[in-house]
């Protein structure tokens, strides 16, 4: 492969015209949520970009993230990105199997040490190394080994980013995200269950275009895609403001497309691009289809008190415990009140009649 050649050269070699390249840059800018004014900059950068080596590790996962990526727009313009990268190891996609596959990984690591991108999907079990292994090696061990020579790590999917579904209570495998293990490498979290496909390719493109990782929020997510919450960009937001809510999935409000807050929509605390980028080639997103947001790009979304409970509602409240407080308070209050009554009665019993003589003759007189 021609790793030394720039992306511009590769594309030209493939017969892509300059017009085609500009079109590619325009959609790329849109993909990365950059303003159209950035297109010339992107064009310049991509022209000179070199294809990086990418190693993709899959741990405790469902392959949903890979499905999301590959089933989306292929062959597409972003497909080009994958032409532009060298995906040297991905055990679902690669042709090689068994020891040949592992060899491919090891040689890619050796050749590109310090420069390759590591993409991870799935969480890492810590309770027992044997819970998830590849070719007899535990996930933990492989991750540590591969991370050593990585320029950066992209944690794709909520499992790799925050532990995801395996991390849900009671977390039987002791699942943890990549960031719990690797602390000396830049990590980008691309959460979602699965993430929006263009977001995965968007991050790769960003790295490719600018040679560095995009700006991240406090949860390690690229701000370009996770900078706004679903609620703020939701087309149903006006219903929230007006106080028009669907109370059940088959009532008038649901039919009229009113806000799904009361049905447990997690839009207000979910930062993702679904409301604008949408799914299935821009067809719609869950709220548009009549279901509240599950909050899948947020840590612990599985344990956020139930998918169908309004965000503000208390969770796991024990009426008995709370009633216990009331009963305890009543008991102590009654005891205290009765003691007070006794004290008052004693004071009354101690009362000695006061006459004018006492008034004239006191300790302070």
């Amino acid at each position: 492969m021609n790793k030394e050649r720039t992306l511009g050269e590769i594309l030209r070699q493939q017969g892509v015209s300059r017009r085609g390249f500009l079109k590619f840059c325009a959609t790329t800018a849109s993909l990365m949520a950059l303003p159209p004014g950035m297109v010339p900059t992107i064009a310049r950068a991509l022209e000179n970009a070199r294809r990086p080596s990418v190693i993709w590790l899959s741990f405790q996962e469902c392959t949903g993230c890979t499905e999301s990526l590959t089933r989306s727009h292929a062959p597409t313009i972003e497909g080009l990105i994958f032409d532009a990268i060298s995906l040297d190891y991905h055990h679902t996609l690669q042709a090689a199997a068994g020891s040949a596959a592992e060899q491919a990984r090891e040689s890619a690591m050796k050749e590109n040490f310090g420069n390759y991108l590591l993409v991870v999907d799935g969480s890492i079990p810590l309770a027992n190394a044997g819970f998830s292994t590849i070719a007899g090696t535990s996930n933990l061990e492989i991750l540590k080994e591969v991370a050593k020579g990585a320029a950066a790590i992209i944690a794709v999917g909520t499992c790799a980013a925050y532990g995801g579904l395996p991390h849900a209570k009671p977390n039987p495998t002791g699942a943890v995200p990549v960031s719990a293990i690797i602390s000396d490498k830049p990590i980008v979290n691309v959460p979602g269950c699965p993430p929006i496909p263009v977001v995965i390719s968007g991050v790769l493109t960003h790295f490719l275009t600018f040679g560095r990782l995009p700006d991240l929020d406090h949860l390690g997510r690229p701000l370009a895609f996770y900078g706004n919450n679903i609620h703020d960009r939701c087309y149903r937001r006006p219903f929230y403001e007006r106080g028009q809510f669907a109370e059940s999935f088959d009532d008038e409000g649901a039919r009229k497309g009113w806000c799904l807050y009361k049905l447990g929509c997690k839009g207000p605390v979910t930062y993702n691009a679904c409301a604008t980028t949408k799914w299935n080639n821009g067809t719609s997103f869950p709220i548009e289809s009549g279901h509240g947001c599950l909050g899948c790009s947020e840590p612990d979304f599985w344990d956020m008190g139930g998918f169908y409970r309004a965000l503000s509602e208390p969770i796991g409240l024990s009426a008995r415990t709370v009633a216990g407080g009331a009963i305890g308070g009543a008991a102590l209050g009654a005891a205290s009140g009765l003691l007070n009554r006794k004290k008052k009665a004693e004071a009354l019993a101690r009362h000695e009649k006061i006459g004018v003589d006492e008034l004239k003759d006191g300790e302070t007189k």
Binding site: V16, P35, P36, R233
Partner: protein, 133 residues
């Protein structure tokens, strides 16, 4: 068993009017200063059906061009001269992006230096050898 009919009222994001306002401002700026503007429709929250409505209100003008590079792209002048709708599709015909460009002529229509250079090379070779490379 029959389901009750869906009577979905079309909610409005309120952004349609804003986009039209932005276009009109950009157009007057183009006339006054020559500054061009491009609006990425992907970055704006729109309710179902609103994009269609926007395209309907922009209508179709005199020029329609098709670019065939990495899939088709349609460059359509709206009924308002100077306002263009540029739609990029991939090779499957799926829409990859849609922009409203406020410009005298979209940059993609102009011939690109690199492409002209390549064309010139090919043309010279044709003259010299009678065959393209």
């Amino acid at each position: 068993m029959s389901f009750p009919p869906l009577e979905i009222t079309r909610p409005e994001s309120g952004n349609l009017k804003l986009i039209l306002h932005e276009i009109s401002h950009a157009l007057s700026e183009l006339m006054a200063t020559g500054n061009e503007r491009s609006i990425d429709l992907r970055g704006i929250p729109l309710a179902p059906g609103e994009e269609k409505k926007l395209l309907e209100s922009l209508g179709e003008g005199e020029i329609r061009a098709e670019l065939d590079a990495l899939g088709k792209s349609r460059i359509q002048e709206s009924r308002y001269s100077g306002v263009w709708i540029v739609t990029h599709c991939n090779s499957n015909g799926e829409i990859m992006g849609r922009f409203i460009e406020i410009t005298r002529s979209p940059a993609l229509l102009a011939a690109q230096t690199e492409d002209m250079a390549a064309g010139l090379d090919a043309l010279r070779q044709l003259i010299a050898t009678g065959t393209e490379s």
